[in-house]
């Protein structure tokens, strides 16, 4: 075993290290469509929040940011705070799933699926609880399938130091028991996103003959393997058929970009200057280099959206119930020694852990602010990429000491191209709204106009009307 070997690839040596701007074919513009697409980003940070320092003070239209969210001040007019969204009705209470999985696990698997975890006593690798994996399709995968955007990646899952491979590390599902793993190595992400662009036809339209042959060979192999999978689907039972069907879908999903189908690679949003980011050098196995790894992934995420490589993106920081270390953050002039999860459960209202938790949560808000700033820096017509996006910043639980699922720490940024009215602090605490409704709203804003309910039927239907 070679621990963390995946961190030490040097894929960027040679040609791929080039960072010169790449001229892009703007297929959509060529088709006469100048309307910027709407994008969805879900950014997950672990271990909840501290309500007293997270939620703004003031009214819906006139509010002041609190300590933890202060780093977002520059984008205040583009934010929507959603206080009082609950996961618990569909995921926690009696009739529908009891206490399947810890709150961390339940929140992780339920956030975008709005469903309880599957039952299963053997899944005990998290907490002291038993459950299975997520029990249904997550919103991002639903939209990728339903809208089938004409982008290189129907959806993109990125992670920073997620490392783990169990239920607390997966927010995205194509179906029950089908978690979607995030890509964690920025160098690998870079290669997947921009490697094909590098090898794309030159500006004078001449493709590399060797590349064209590779594409043709790949096409033949796809045809052969897909036909074989389809043949096998007729021979297996219904459950296995679903697995092979997912396999076939995944192969078809990657085929277009691997065989050089024209018009599928890096089309570029209107006016986007589509420049691959420069990646620094860092070790993914070192907790102390969280910022560097996170920045690289955020830069790649922003570039992927700006270049219209994808319109649906999930972004995970560490895993839920994360024990990530923050020795690089100082509290009372000393680095934080404890791990995030342990600190998040300290009840004291003063002292080192109190300050450490605040510092970590604020640090995460700074990262969100960095990402929003990146998106806002891309102009798209009269708006910015941020305006044309909906970013949901979320955690798997609310108040961390309580493992609360009844008031999720949700903040939206961007307005989906003006579809959502931003710059507001919406407080549903006295009449809680279900997570399901938020997902319906996000889906509708993305263009799934006929979406009226999402997830477990115990949740409320219809959108969050206050958002529009």
């Amino acid at each position: 075993m070679n621990p963390l070997r995946f961190t030490r690839r040097n894929l960027l040596r040679g040609g791929l290290a080039a960072t010169a701007a790449i001229p892009l074919l703007n297929a959509r513009r060529a088709q006469g469509d100048d309307t910027p697409p709407v994008r969805l980003v879900v950014m997950h940070t672990p271990n909840g929040t501290r309500n007293s320092l997270f939620w703004p003070t003031g009214s819906e239209a006139d509010f002041k940011l609190n300590t933890i969210t202060a780093p977002l001040e520059a984008y205040k007019s583009k934010l929507t705070f959603l206080k009082g969204i609950r996961l618990n009705d569909s995921l926690q209470n009696g009739a529908l799933g009891g206490t399947l999985g810890s709150e961390h696990a339940r929140g992780t698997g339920g956030m975008l699926t709005a469903r309880p975890l599957n039952a299963g006593k053997e899944f005990v690798s998290f907490g002291n609880t038993t459950s299975g994996w997520g029990s249904g399709q997550s919103l991002d995968q639903y939209l990728a399938q339903k809208l089938a955007p004409p982008t290189t990646f129907k959806s993109l899952q990125l992670g920073v130091h997620v490392r783990d491979t169990e239920v607390r590390a997966r927010i995205s599902y194509t179906a029950s028991n089908q978690p979607v793993p995030p890509r964690e190595d920025p160098k690998d992400v870079f290669k997947s996103l921009f490697g094909a662009m590098m090898a794309s036809p030159t500006p004078d339209g001449m493709a590399d003959p060797a590349l064209e042959r590779l594409w043709a060979q790949r096409k033949s192999v796809f045809d052969i393997s897909n036909a074989e999978t389809q043949r096998l689907m007729g021979l297996v039972g219904s459950e296995d058929r679903k697995m092979l069907d997912a396999h076939l879908t995944a192969m078809r999903d990657v085929e277009a970009r691997l065989v050089g189908t024209p018009g599928t690679s890096g089309m570029g949003g209107p006016g986007a200057s589509c420049t691959p980011p420069t990646l620094g050098d860092f070790d993914l196995g070192v907790d102390d280099q969280y910022l560097q790894a996170g920045r690289a992934q955020m830069d790649l995420a922003a570039a992927a959206l700006a270049c219209d490589q994808t319109r649906i993106l999930t972004f995970q920081w560490s895993y839920s119930e994360s024990e990530h270390l923050f020795q690089f953050l100082k509290v009372n002039s000393a680095g934080i020694n404890g791990n995030h999860h342990a600190i998040s459960h300290d009840f004291s209202s003063s002292g080192t852990n109190y300050l450490a938790y605040n510092a970590i949560q604020t640090w995460y808000a700074e990262q969100v602010a960095y990402f929003l700033g990146k998106l806002d820096s891309y102009k798209e017509g009269d708006r910015t990429l941020l305006d044309n996006t909906i970013v949901l910043w979320a955690s798997e639980i609310g108040e961390s000491t309580q493992h609360d699922l009844a008031m999720m720490p949700y903040v939206l940024a961007g307005s989906a191209g003006g579809k959502l009215k931003a710059g507001r602090y919406l407080d549903f605490s006295s009449a809680r709204k279900d997570n399901n409704q938020l997902l319906v709203s996000l889906g509708q804003a993305m263009g799934a106009s006929d979406l009226t309910s999402f997830g477990d039927p115990s949740g409320a239907t219809g959108p969050l009307s206050a958002l529009a």
Binding site: L4, N177, Q178, A216, Q327, N337
Partner: protein, 605 residues
Amino acid sequence: MIRGADDKKAHLLERFGLSQDTEHSLSRLLQSLKLAFPLIVAVGCSSTDGAGTDAAAGAAGSGSTSGAGAANSGDAPPVVGGPRPSAEACAQTQEVVRTPLRRLTRTEYTSTVRDLLNVDVSATLDIPADEVTGGFDNNAAVLTVSSLHAEKYVLVSEALAKLAVQKLSALTSGCDPTTTGEEACALAFAKSFGRRAFRRPTTAEDERQLMAAYAAGRTGGSYAEGIEVMIRAALQSSSFLYRLELTPATDVAAKRVPLSQFELATRLSYLVWGSGPDDALLDAAAQNQLATKEQVAAKARELLAQPKARAALNNFFEQWTSTRRLAITTKNTTLFPAFTNELRDAMAKELPAFLNDVLWSGDRKLQTLLTSPVAYVSGPLAQLYEVTPPAPNADGSPARVELPAQQARAGLLTQAGFLAVQGHPDQTSPVLRGKFVRSMLLCQPPPPPPADVDISVPSVDEGATARVRFGAHESAASSCNSCHLLMDPIGFAFEHFDAMGRYRQQENGQDLDVSGEILNAGDASLSGAFNGPAELATKLAGSKLVRDCVATQWFRFAAGRSEAAADACSLASMEDAFSNADGDIIDLVVATTQTDAFWYRPVTQ
């Protein structure tokens, strides 16, 4: 269990220093323990009853296909240490449990392509790590193919094929295209390589497809390029990526379908080698030499004698003991500056070296794995164990050393790698270590924490021992006590080892109390107090329950799924074989091949 409830209560009060005020909660605790055992799983920690769980199964079903662990029938799966099926019942023809289609894990994929192509297979690390379910990365229900998998299967197959054709002559068994003809050589390769890749003789359709891939490479390219594209096609085929079992049922009225010879050979090779069958094993299948249980047992022992078996068993033990997680374990660099990549590598090498000694030149016993007071050191690990670095082995493998008696180390559970994984990045975790013993050695996962309870984890900067800090878990004020009494008193045994497994005399300047008890395990040989990890290990090593649990863990790993009701007879026979062989691990592996669960698949997949 022998003591009456009142004796037990007094005993608990005394052991955990609880006052009489705790009596109420202890009554509640005893009540819940009584309810919980032996069917402790899925029962709430507090007064919550199990009703929610039953309802939940229905709810999950409504939104999903089958839960990854759902039993095949309405009957409850067998419980370790619980009621056993009668010999009469097991003598009848039993139905068998469906295993979902098994996709090769990344580990299996890697071993398989190494054996197929004999090239550097480091490219396979680009394939995403497999999802871990119940400690194992091969639970078939969740091993699906995402878009990321699809992308990597394509690119990795290209990287491997490119390397493979650099040794074209050896790869194609010396077939000379200039004399034999390119097409003829390619077809011969399609048949021989296809048979090994698909783990069965190729069909005309397979050959047509592989030759189509060859043609795609040969067109505009060379003969070698044709072979290269053929290899890519084989490695991207679902017949390669999945362990298909498609032999049709010949008797529709039968309760189960016997596997074909090639399917049995494939199960056998992945069980013992973690890789596909080689030509010799496929030849044996072709000659119907896996027709009887005796033949399969003999073949299993034959395969076990080959070096490939070592990596496969290491894979199980690294996952079962959780030391596979060393690769993703980090420690606070201020508190544990010694926890370098070098030390972590040395920790990761220790378990395979230990297994190498015990399983392949030692007594092969579970007891030895649990109690042996030795370490296998390389690099900085000798310093951690406070032993004089021994002379390195000629092959560079970690060298065996006796450990100082004072440390009271014993076997797997006191290896530094295990202790480092079962700890937080900044402090020890008696809870995690106790929970490990409870769930992976006793097969009794603790019930979940009660809903809506404040869950406070002791922080590292409090100046006390963990026993004092974690005492809150067991205090009357905490509704956590009924669960934590099952874990923490076991985990405290390891408190002489810090969060990276280093021996310490004291914690925060205070002496450590490493006494404890395994409460309510349901096995008399586990009851009674112990002091320190060596005594705990001795108790575990002498327990039938522990042996049965290990057999069950191995079953889960071997079958790629959790046990279900219809597995009861198969499991019982493995437990019996393991016990009769006095905990011989190799005999347990062979016993797996003698079960109905191994020989058959259900009529309806």
